[in-house]
Amino acid sequence: MQKKEKVLPHGGDAPYKKEILLAGFGGQGVLFAGKVLTYCGLLAGKEVSWLPSYGPEMRGGTANCSVCISDDPIGSPLVTKPDLFICMNGPSFDKFIDSVVPGGTVFIDETLVTQEVSRTDVTVYSIPAAALAAENNLSGMSNMILLGKFFKESAEETEMFSMETVKGALEKCVPSTKTHLIEVNIRAIELGRKK
């Protein structure tokens, strides 16, 4: 899919204000990917919030999280009309695609989302993240591959999602006992950035 116009449409009066929704199955790393974005914002000196929503089960249920990044203090941390929607499975697509603001952007893992996008007022980027993860010995890293795609498409607009900031964010998000995973995450992000 080709890039149409600027990736992150500005909303409201604030110089920068993004409401991001990430959704998928529990266990796909949806909440983790949200944390990485949140820390990118934090490291860039923005106001940020991260709010998870999931069922009582720890794995396999639906999971989504709301991330707000803004120059102004954040009011409601719950994202109901995302500027940016990162979608990792079919049920989440059905549930949230219509909530994306007109002019918003959607990133889709087309391995797991087979639905067609009928909306014409949003920019859609679609990559086979899960398949890429399987092919490249990056199992469980489809979240980072999809984020990599997002970082690539956003790099022009803001420094916030440059590789340097992203690395800093990963260092904050990965527990100190699992630092070896930072490298794997970066490999997955780089792969996504090439797509």
């Binding site: 409201g12 934090l42 991260w50 709010l51 929503s53 009582p56 009011g75 409601s76 941390p77 719950l78």
Partner: protein, 338 residues
Amino acid sequence: MAGCKSFFGYPITPQTEISAYMAKRMPKEGGVFLQAESEIAAVNMVLGAAAAGVRTMTSSSSPGISLKSEGISYIAGSDLPCVIINVQRGGPGLGGIQPSQADYWQATRALGHGDFHVLVYAPASVQEMVDLVIEAFDRADEYRMPAMLLADGMLGQMMEPVTFPEVKKNVPDKPWATNGHQGKRDHNVANSLFLSPGDLHSKVVRRFEKYKEIEQKLPKAETYKTEDADIIVTAYGAAARIARSAVNMARKEGIKAGLIRPVTLYPFPKEIIRKHTENAKEILCVEMSMGQMVEDVRLSVECKKPVRFYGKTGGLIPEPAEVFEQIKRIEKRIGGAY
């Protein structure tokens, strides 16, 4: 941070994050973390630790707070300080696990049997969760009474940037503590039993004199764009964040809306609300419940102004756009009247 020496918990969603954090943190700070066999046991461990004179706390979510209410009543009746966190979820009964504000009445009216109050703080951000815990410990010690943080699942689980203040060490002396008299004083007794009606009466009356002072000194609320507002939204905690977004949306469309966010729910900031709504035409109370705080708002304005209510319960969170819609409706009505 607040000089808290012990935490007694019991797992319940959505407050498990607090227990998990304390389990890691307390041993490093030379404090105690203990997972009790029940909410009831946990709150009674808090009673023991509070009587021993140390700063102590527990946290739970709605159904667990109901179980703790026995202990909270005894703690209040024994004039002991402690901090209790309620990360509210939907009810009644097992309810749900999504954010809610349905325990306002319980927190401000009915945290246990008997004539008493606990201080109730309503944080609206993660930073405030930190700051108000410290404030709660300080005031609990000052007034020798329990203090509650009434949060909700949204605040309990979200991440936001936080600045942790300096570690505090100046916990006040507690000459009343039952920590062993070491032969230096008469024995202390931590007790809530007063079988003579006269004794119990004067004990409770003295406590209510303390409450009078608290109601003078401690009410706190944040006001936002209220100066020229025709419509004032009142909301606490997470609902206040949503209301704030709605107020911004209204302002953008030229509607003079403002927000009053009570930070203390007991003592309720009646005077602040009365003063800041003097020139307003209508008030809209927004809650994640069927409408509980709205009663206190009506009392605050002595029913002299219309107080409308908008809320959702059961774990549903009102959206800023819905609240904005309510504001617009009010604007239409009062616009015609003036």
